[in-house]
């Protein structure tokens, strides 16, 4: 057997960022270098893991690993299937990009705090995607939340602290709800392992309560309308790379847990409950798309516009719940992936604009926009994916979701996709329009390091490219057939 196949890459994925975090903490002067090295190492490990999994035939490609040789129920199991693998991949991609970007963005004082926290967050994210039981999911969720809150507070100043504090409370409340649900399930079935729970699941009031609690907690963390109130202020005050992390990865992680539970733990519990709850989630998604879109259009500051755009885009993810078909789930997951890439590009582009001109007032963008053509191109290309115009990851997701909506006979969900796309077009072009007029900058500008511009552009191009490699991504998604448990 060759070496690549034998190394437990999935353990490395947790250990590497943890070690990186320690090192960055111990050697703050070298934080930038250590952070970048760790980021590269993690990216390489994810690729190796992908290779390892592709070579595996047993278990339909999914990989289970008992840490230290102790399996469930005593030890900790790590588990990789198509869903988690793609989450790990997108996290590595976005993480690497953000690491490169941050190496130019932060001054030394901030960098000293940023790198250890960011590595810790990365460790939490990777561990979360690898968890095979709902209790470990809780632990990693909490860890991720705390690291994210600290990162939001990094900017300093009253706004940032207030935003961070609010985020902290929401985050804790969300995890608490989730933990209560975990306790209820453990009490009922005597296990926290996802597969075991899925097998033993049966309908009872305790289970319904657990479903309600866990879903609510996760919705709060995912910032689904009307529980999104914490997200715009947290984003607005955070540094650009942190905003990108929050939008692209952190809110997605809690959605990922919800998706897992919904696909593998809850289905057997109660079909009728699931159906009506699914309809409710779909309605909230609709409200999110509309509210987020309209609010984004009304914003006068660029970062808030992008933040509300996230609120809207999260709404799309929930349109899959009332459809509850395999193609619908795939569409939502595709949306998640392409949104992660595109939204990172967009936040980084917004960060560049702010970096250059010192402000992000939309009406004064004409002072900046034409001086940063690469950044504006990145913003535009990311916008195309968010709008769902072809060819882009966003278009594919929208196409699949529309197809699922029509096939399930619930075409009205499709209308929201179209309306949301037009709203997105409106706010994206509200910004792009400024690229074509010029006026003088009233004050000194600050040169943007070229790598910060290129990172944003390359990510945006990747968001477009995700519209051209669909069969490959869909077949990765199939590994371990994570969607098999859902109703057809």
């Amino acid at each position: 057997m060759n070496l690549l196949q034998n190394i437990p890459w999935l353990v490395l994925l947790v250990v590497l960022p943890l070690a990186g975090s320690m090192l960055c903490f111990l050697f703050p002067q070298r934080g930038k270098l250590l952070g970048l090295m760790t980021a590269l190492a993690i990216a390489a490990s994810v690729l190796a893991l992908t290779y390892q999994i592709m070579g595996q035939v047993v278990n339909q490609g999914a990989l289970r690993y008992a840490v230290g040789g102790w399996g469930a129920p005593l030890g900790i199991n790590l588990y990789v299937d198509g869903l988690s693998l793609l989450m790990l991949l997108v996290t590595a991609l976005v993480g690497l990009a953000i690491s490169i970007y941050s190496s130019g963005y932060f001054n030394n004082d901030k960098a000293k705090h940023f790198w250890p926290l960011w590595m810790l967050l990365w460790a939490a994210l990777n561990a979360l995607f690898l968890s095979a039981d709902i209790f470990n999911l809780y632990v990693t969720l909490e860890l991720m939340g705390l690291a994210a809150v600290a990162l939001v507070a990094l900017a300093g100043g009253a706004d940032a602290l207030a935003g961070a504090m609010r985020y902290l409370l929401v985050s804790l409340l969300g995890s608490l709800c989730y933990l209560l649900g975990v306790a209820l399930l453990y009490h009922s079935f005597g296990s926290v392992d996802i597969v075991t729970l899925g097998q033993r699941m049966e309908s009872s009031p305790a289970v319904w309560a657990a479903v309600g609690l866990m879903t609510t907690g996760l919705l709060l963390k995912t910032a689904l309308f009307p529980l999104h109130f914490w997200l715009p202020p947290a984003h607005a005050s955070a540094p650009a790379p942190v905003s990108a992390l929050l939008s692209a990865l952190v809110v997605k992680a809690s959605f990922y847990i919800l998706l897992r539970l919904w696909l593998e733990v809850f289905p057997v519990a109660s079909a009728s409950l699931e159906q009506s709850l699914g309809q409710l989630l779909g309605l909230l998604g609709v409200a999110a798309v509309l509210w987020g879109g309209v609010q984004a259009l009304r914003q006068t500051r660029l970062k808030l516009l992008v933040a509300y755009s996230t609120v809207a885009q999260i709404g799309y993810l929930f349109l899959a719940f009332p459809l509850a078909s395999i193609i619908g789930w795939k569409a939502a997951f595709y949306m998640l992936l392409s949104h992660a890439v595109a939204k990172t590009a967009m936040f980084l582009a917004a960060g560049n604009i702010m970096f250059y001109g010192g402000h992000d007032r939309i009406v004064d963008l004409d002072q900046v926009a034409h001086r940063l053509p690469l950044t504006l191109s990145a913003f535009g290309l990311a916008g195309i994916s968010l709008m769902g115009l072809p060819p882009s990851g966003g278009f594919i997701a929208k196409w699949l979701l529309l197809e699922a909506a029509i096939l399930s006979g619930q075409w009205w969900w499709g209308i929201i996709l179209i309306v949301g796309g037009l709203l997105t077009g409106a706010y994206v072009f509200k910004v792009i329009g400024y690229a074509f007029i010029e006026s003088d900058l009233p004050h000194e500008s600050r040169a943007v390091p070229k790598r910060m511009e290129w990172v944003a552009l390359i990510l945006a191009l990747l968001a477009i490219a995700m519209g051209l490699i669909v069969p490959r991504l869909l077949s990765l998604m199939e590994i371990g057939s994570p969607f098999a448990g859902s109703s057809l």
Binding site: H370, P373, I384, M387, L389, P390, P391, I396, K398, W399, L400, L402, E403, I406, L407, G414, I418, G421, L422, G425, F429, G433, F436, I437, E438, L468, V470, P471, L474
Partner: protein, 498 residues
């Protein structure tokens, strides 16, 4: 290596790559940019010529790339697509020459020519699309690539025009998307097939198919400027002249009209469309558009605005020819795809020359302009007479076939539309010609620039003269092989012979 499978992709890439390189080119690399532009346009033309010869000799050119499960991206050269490809890549070359002359010395040329190349990429993609999803992809790309060209000048008016354009086209694109997906869920395929692929569907689906037809035509009608979806076109005339040429003759409205042809012929099939009862309303809509556009054109004093309304009217001849249902009318409609392109591009080139050389933007300022700029005005005259339908120019051939076809299909009312529209065309073009040739010029022109020996820059003068000659040639030589008329007949036999 099998070249036949790569030719269509190569033709699309030839301008895409040029565009991408131009984007990153420094602003002052003028020579390199000109060289790249011309090389790209010529290379594309050579490839198209080879492919045209191949298609004529029965070669099958098809590029197929996996896109979605069960759906491929397909680029295919069939007779119909070649008509559009030849038109757009031929006029593309001339427009590039014109644009280089027009924009000399102005800022942001790398951006302009980059998007310019993307625009032709999208158009050729639309032409070569072998199924509805590929078509949709390039159709939306066209929207995105033209927007920066419309707002290029960055004035308040151009930004407003750009906004209007987006509102119309993005909404249209959304309708097209819904129609396409709905169709896909019903039929399970989107592959363009001669005589359509829907007639086998169960008749319980027919109401849905009618709805889908309406969605698709509404989506395409935005770009084809069918009334009442035409509002963006007259506003977009604030764009620079080469962009207007692009919008009106080469790319945008043509993509819409071409899409309608595709939907009627290769998605629904003409006989099935007729049996669904959707062709007569479409013909009526086209007739209304023809008359309405002409009437509005009468009252415009701004030259480019008058031409824009004229486009609204003329493009619908294509739709009318399709919707009348009958081989002869179809020939008229298809051939107008080319004829309208050559005529309208001449007129817009000339309008651009008047504006650039003398500062003339209004019809009322054109008195005596024929004496100052005889070559440009001669080209304009040929274009205008062609539009009116004076034999033996291009427009006459179109109207002749449309009229004959309508009679053959037993739809005599179309004759009145044709006559009425010709009278209106004469009503808004002849006064211009009269004023330009026979009225005495004003003491001074609004903003005159001197270009030495010639009446204007050579790069601005040569393209309209060539296209004007083409207007004469496609009319005079209509019955020779390889003329647009000949090709349109060839396409029609494919659709109508059993």
């Amino acid at each position: 290596m099998n070249w036949d499978a790569w030719m269509p992709l190569l033709i699309v890439l030839s301008s895409l790559l040029v565009g991408l390189v131009i984007f990153v080119l420094a602003e002052d690399r003028v020579k390199t940019r000109i060289w790249l532009n011309m090389a790209g346009a010529l290379f594309k033309l050579v490839l198209v010529a080879i492919m045209l010869w191949g298609v004529f000799n029965g070669h099958h050119y098809e590029t197929r790339l996996p896109f979605l499960p069960g759906l491929d991206l397909v680029l295919r050269a069939d007779a119909l697509s070649m008509l559009f490809v030849v038109l757009s890549s031929g006029l593309w070359l001339l427009t590039t020459v014109y644009a280089i002359g027009y924009l000399e010395g102005s800022p942001y040329r790398s951006r302009f020519f980059g998007f310019f190349s993307l625009c032709v990429t999208a158009t050729v993609g639309v032409a070569l699309a072998g199924n509805l999803i590929t078509f949709l992809l390039f159709y939306e790309l066209l929207t995105l690539a033209t927007y920066p060209l419309i707002v290029h000048r960055g004035t308040e008016a151009s930004r407003r025009a750009g906004r209007t354009y987006l509102v119309y086209t993005l909404a249209g694109g959304a309708l097209l998307l819904i129609g396409t997906i709905w169709l896909y869920t019903l039929s399970g395929t989107l592959e363009f097939t001669a005589r359509g692929f829907l007639s086998a569907l169960d008749s319980s689906h027919h109401p849905a198919l009618v709805m889908i037809f309406v969605l698709l035509i509404a989506g395409l009608g935005v770009k084809a400027a069918l009334v009442p979806l035409h509002g963006w076109l007259p506003q977009a005339m604030v764009a620079p002249a080469p962009v207007s040429a692009l919008l009106h003759a080469v790319a945008v409205v043509k993509a819409g009209a071409f899409g309608i042809v595709r939907v009627v012929y290769d998605v629904y099939g003409i006989e099935f469309s007729a049996s669904l009862g959707v062709t007569l309303p479409l013909a009526m809509l086209a007739a209304v558009t023809i008359i309405y556009g002409s009437i509005r054109a009468l009252f415009q004093d701004d030259l480019k605005r008058r031409l824009a309304f004229s486009t609204v009217s003329q493009v619908s001849y294509i739709v009318l020819g399709i919707a009348v249902v009958g081989p002869v009318a179809t020939v008229g409609g298809l051939v107008h795809l080319v004829h309208q392109g050559v005529m309208k591009i001449t007129l817009f080139f000339c309008a651009g020359n008047f504006a650039e050389t003398l500062g003339i933007h209004k019809v009322s300022e054109m008195n005596g302009v024929g004496r100052r700029m005889p070559w440009t005005m001669a080209a304009f005259t040929i274009g205008a007479l062609g539009m009116i339908g004076v034999p033996p120019l291009a427009g006459f051939i179109t109207k002749w076939y449309l009229g004959l076809g309508a009679l053959e299909a037993g739809q005599g009312w179309v004759i009145f539309v044709l006559v009425g529209s010709s009278l209106l065309n004469a009503g808004y073009f002849l006064p211009i010609l009269y004023a330009a040739w026979f009225k005495a010029p004003a003491d001074s022109w609004p903003a005159e620039r001197s270009f030495g020996r010639h009446e204007t820059a050579l790069a601005l003068l040569v393209p309209p003269v060539i296209t004007a000659l083409l207007v004469v040639a496609v009319g005079l030589l209509a019955s020779t092989p390889f003329s647009p008329l000949h090709w349109a007949r060839f396409i029609t036999t494919l659709e109508y012979t059993p």
